[in-house]
């Protein structure tokens, strides 16, 4: 309550706002937008910040218009949407499993998507849409399998993470097998896909991801308060009238779909889902799943990383997934280090 403000109207409407959390979300959103504009301006045909904004609002030259709308905007949108989806999904998994390791990278969803994509690449030499479909199916199937295997009168945090880790190990073995079976071209294509990249994305990747986000993000946010109650333990939440298992099932299914959709569009981008909720919580200093802040952190992290990778290594030399892994990992280590020095962990 220390940092909360309440907005009330006469009709009995009352909404609570954590002041700091709201500010953090605003700043993150602004950061994501700035990074997006910078990213659009980056490439073989560089554009100034002002040019990009002018083109986006419809006043650019035809050439600028083509570069922005057909080439670079889809890439940025995939980055923003995938980052949002991954950040939100990570927050859901970590909240439900009450474990910071309960994130899609660790519990085998990324590996499931990869197996799906690799099956299509290696066995059928499928085109990109088929690969995306395979990845989506792989992610959803592995999510369902983890849920079913971890089920014992409801899904419990640690069992869920452990089953997920076992699942990830099995799927990693399958990935290794598929890669050794593949011929050289397929293997190279598969490896590139596995790192996760925003390069060469077009509107065909944007549309399904946008649809998934439009449906699933509000669904998850609508369950935010119930999720927050779940963090006090199942019994307490249940006593307070939270439909525990239904909340868990709905939010986890949504998170699996979000992860699978993001992965299908951009490949298994490392670390965003794991780091974004942790970073968001430390930025907002608010307990609870911090869903909106985690989603914004994910988007900002991914787009900034993509922009950074192009600035540092040149256009499309380093896939963004490699950089998010490094960036996010370093930042998290630094955070943990400073917190340990402050005696908080």
């Amino acid at each position: 309550m220390k940092h909360a403000r309440t907005l009330r109207t006469r009709g009995g409407l009352s909404v609570r706002l954590e002041t700091r959390a709201a500010l953090v979300v605003l700043l993150l959103a602004a950061g994501a937008l700035a990074a997006s504009v910078a990213l659009i301006g980056t490439g073989d045909y560089p554009m100034t910040f002002a040019d990009v904004v002018r083109t986006l609002t419809g006043d650019g030259t035809p050439a600028q218009d083509f570069v922005v709308h057909d080439l670079r905007l889809p890439r940025v949108l995939v980055g923003l949407l995938a980052g949002t989806a991954l950040g939100l999904a990570g927050a859901v998994f970590q909240s439900v499993s009450r474990n910071p390791l309960g994130s899609p990278d660790v519990i085998g969803l990324g590996q499931g998507s990869t197996v799906g994509a690799l099956l299509v690449i290696v066995l059928f030499q499928g085109d990109p849409p088929a690969v995306a479909a395979g990845s989506l199916a792989g992610g959803v199937l592995s999510g369902a399998a983890i849920y079913a295997l971890a089920w014992k009168k409801g899904v419990q945090g640690n069992r869920f993470v452990l089953v997920g880790i076992a699942m990830a190990a099995i799927l990693t073995a399958v990935i290794g097998y598929l890669l050794t079976k593949a011929n050289l071209t397929d293997a190279a294509r598969a490896t590139l896909w596995m790192v996760g990249s925003l390069g060469g994305r077009d509107w065909d990747q944007v549309r399904p991801l946008l649809l998934a986000c439009a449906v699933l993000v509000p669904l998850v946010l609508g369950h935010g308060r119930a999720l927050r109650m779940l963090e006090s333990g199942d019994d307490t939440a249940y006593a307070l009238g939270v439909p525990v298992e239904r909340t868990r099932l709905v939010t986890m299914a949504a998170a699996v779909l979000l992860t699978a959709a993001a992965t299908a569009a951009a490949g298994p981008i490392a670390f965003v889902a794991l780091a974004a909720p942790q970073l968001a919580r430390r930025l907002t200093r608010t307990p609870g799943p911090n869903l909106i802040a985690a989603a914004c952190t994910g988007a900002t992290l991914l787009v900034t990383a993509d922009w950074g990778s192009q600035q540092l290594f040149g256009a499309d030399r380093l896939p963004v997934g490699a950089l998010t892994g490094m960036l996010g990992g370093c930042y998290l280590l630094w955070l943990l280090f400073t917190e340990r020095r402050a005696g908080r962990i």
Partner: protein, 313 residues
């Protein structure tokens, strides 16, 4: 829903006599919460069969019994955490599972045995979560919520801790915070599962005094599972003694707690005297017999010091 529920004063409608084993519920008191011949089982392991219990309105009901007698299981069933394998738990005359979760949570509160305080949450924020069943997406924090949270913290003596982090508190303080959260739920019925476990003796008494006060001043119906028979006898207005999933006796402690009953329920030889502070029954376990005497008396517990079994108050 319910038949004419006459406002019966708390515990004034005391029952004529302690009940004998497993009879059907009494009709002299009204009960919003009852268990009707329920069979309770975990994973097919039956804990209690054909168990019927009624919680008298406005009572401070305490459930006692030895370990594994099913007392916590019964409380879980009464709070709809455990679905009976057969029979039904009725709240206001309808099966408790038939109500929407939030509606039950506005009528019946539960303080579970183990709760997890989320990392970095303050006392005031945790207590505020007790208002969840009264809130919605568009009604997240009304002036009423704020008032009730403040009152709940004042009633449990944690108002001064409002801005402290829950992780920093002592066990006794923390338990009072959880009770404050359950109070903020503002339910006429409140169930407590061993609220004194893991607490030092002074905190145990503190928590139980608080419960008694809530029962007296706010007229709520409390149901608690307690380990300590003397605590139960001192604080309860209605006692339910369980053994092996069956009700062995129930009624006001002064009538129920006898040496004979304690031996039957707990297998403990004892003497029951008047509590010098409250006049309620006080169970004093029998002294250990010296080895030589024991050799002679093996197999005949009747030879042991047999205290007066009459009701003491």
């Amino acid at each position: 829903m319910s038949d004419a529920r006459v406002a019966t004063g708390p515990q004034t409608t005391a029952k004529a006599a302690p009940r004998a084993d497993g009879e059907a519920g009494s009709t002299t008191t009204t009960s919003r919460l009852t268990a009707e011949s329920v069979t309770l089982a975990y994973d097919g392991r039956v804990i209690a069969e054909n168990l019927s219990v009624a919680v008298p309105d406005n009572s401070f009901t305490v459930i006692v019994g030895p370990n594994a007698c099913g007392k916590s299981t019964l409380l879980r069933a009464l709070s709809r955490m455990l679905k009976p394998a057969s029979g039904a738990v009725l709240l206001d005359g309808a099966a408790i599972g038939s109500y929407p979760a939030k509606k039950v949570a506005r009528t019946l509160g539960l303080l579970p045995q183990s709760s997890v305080a989320p990392d970095g949450i303050t006392v005031a924020d945790l207590v505020a979560r007790g208002r969840y069943p009264h809130q919605g997406l568009l009604r997240q924090w009304s002036p009423e919520d704020e008032r009730i949270v403040d009152e709940s913290m004042a009633a449990t003596g944690v108002a001064a801790l409002a801005d402290r982090y829950v992780d920093e508190l002592s066990g006794g303080q923390r338990q009072r915070v959880w009770i404050a959260m359950a109070l903020a739920q503002r339910t006429p019925l409140l169930l407590l599962d061993e609220p004194t476990t893991y607490l030092d003796i002074q905190h145990q008494i503190e928590v139980l005094d608080l419960c008694a006060e809530l029962h007296e001043t706010q007229g709520r119906t409390l149901v608690a599972v307690l380990h300590d028979l003397n605590h139960a006898a001192r604080y309860a207005t209605h006692l339910i003694a369980l053994r092996d999933g069956r009700v062995v006796a129930e009624g006001p402690p002064a009538e129920v707690v006898t040496a004979e009953l304690v031996e039957r329920v707990f297998g403990l030889r004892c003497q029951v005297i008047d509590d010098p502070q409250t006049g309620t029954p006080l169970v004093v376990p029998a002294a250990r017999r010296p080895r030589t005497a024991q050799a002679g008396a093996t197999g005949s517990p009747a030879a042991a010091a047999r205290p007066a079994g009459s009701p003491s108050a």
